[in-house]
Assembly symmetry: C2
Homo-oligomer: 264 residues x 2
């Protein structure tokens, strides 16, 4: 099964962009009258009839809508410091999408070696991973912000929307802080390496009925004490990820897997 | 903390190979008298005093041994069909090592597009990942064999050892089939995409007290019905990995994560 992607949906008429049109018509050789599946990136799969098999702008008519296609029964925001080597971060974004993630937020820590993170490539990667793993919702890739600003967005009363990846997300903005989608406060977890009594991420997830989960993962050099203190104050719960020393990108994926397994 | 690796251990005298010696003496600038940590690849960390800071063959004396360093409370064999793109397989080997895996067996399925798999690079990757994640045991990378031969190695009475990665494994041979390390039959799981009533891998792991676990993961085109039938006959339990369509390498990692979380 091959899923196409379009944001150009007007009532029951869908247009594919040149890249998707070429793939549909030239590579997969779809012809007028064929049934094709198109995702809107926001969670709905649209079963369509191809009306115009143009390799530059294919046009199709929506026959049936399937909301929540390939969805998961939770909302996960992974706020992860970019790794020195961006390949590792991109890999994490791809794999987290396969498991199920709703937003990936590149956060820059005080000890981050990498202070910049371009999101265009990440957006392409999560779109491709969503299509490949048959999910009609594409994770939002947020614009980078500092760990402190990310934490501050959860301070009581704060609800400043941080601009997401408008071209992909559907909503165009990612409400990072404040109330969660279902009105309650999200379960906010921070994984760091400092010693101390902590729950494992599995225990923390099992102890909560909150399906809106935020996990904050630090850089190679860990969070600064100031960042940890600010996170505690904002209600983040410290968790550990077990005895293994996991790289940043592996820790992020381990978090996605833990939530995935809670609802498997 | 930096861990060196040596197989050249004679009583309390350890010699590092030229690559490790150069890293120890030229890059990290260790001098005679320094304390260094050396892993034997079989699970023991050796705290040593550097006696000869030769950049070509450093020599050290063992001061203290720490068996089971960075170990995990289970034994996991991941038998995974190589992916078309070997980068993805190598990534899986690295990440599985971070979580904890004892043997990686490249198995060639009847529907595998990739029929060959060179293990030299994989061995270097798991050694590097073990060092990086502070584990003194390096996973064995077995020589590739067919899915059918792998399954046959578990048939009752079979105990043919399949040659492992002698240069890294310590044991030089990986007893694939037959009895497990603790004498019992390992828990053998097969993940495949055919429809049908199956436990999730989490449920299957939770229902078993067996700490010796084998997970068989198929190629992009899934196992053949013949392979699935042979696995059932050999006592493999079918499991699913949840609603998400995971790539081969992600499925392997999801399995490693499931076992990791059982004992976290």
């Amino acid at each position: 099964m091959e899923i196409f992607y379009s944001k150009d949906i007007d009532g029951t008429t869908i247009r594919l962009n040149p890249e998707e049109s070429a793939h549909c018509v030239k590579v997969l050789r779809h012809r007028e009258g064929d049934e094709i599946a198109v995702m809107d990136g926001a969670g709905t799969l649209l079963w369509c009839r191809l009306d115009d098999a143009s390799p530059k702008e294919a046009v199709a008519t929506v026959v049936r809508r399937e909301p929540g296609f390939g969805g998961h029964p939770y909302r996960l925001t992974l706020a992860v410091c970019p790794t020195k080597n961006m390949d590792r971060y991109e890999w994490m974004a791809e794999k987290a999408t396969e498991f199920g993630v709703d937003a990936i937020v590149p956060v820059i820590g005080e000890r981050s070696e990498r202070k910049v993170c371009k999101t265009e490539r990440l957006e392409r990667i999560v779109l491709s991973a969503a299509k490949q793993s048959l999910k009609a919702a594409v994770p939002v890739v947020a614009q980078p912000l500092s760990v402190m600003d990310f934490i501050a967005s959860f301070a009581s009363g704060a609800s400043a929307p941080v601009s997401g990846a408008a071209s992909v997300s559907g909503s165009g903005a990612l409400p990072l802080g404040g109330a969660s989608a279902d009105g309650g406060e999200p379960l906010k977890l921070i994984a760091y390496c400092f010693e101390g009594e902590k729950l494992s991420i599995r225990e923390a997830l099992e102890a909560s009925s909150q399906r809106d989960v935020v996990v904050l993962i630090g850089p190679e050099g860990d969070f600064s004490p100031r960042e940890v203190a600010a996170a505690m104050k904002a209600g983040f719960k410290p968790v550990h990820l077990g005895a293994s020393r996991l790289r940043t990108e592996t820790a992020a994926l381990a978090s996605a897997a833990a939530l995935y397994y809670k609802y498997i």
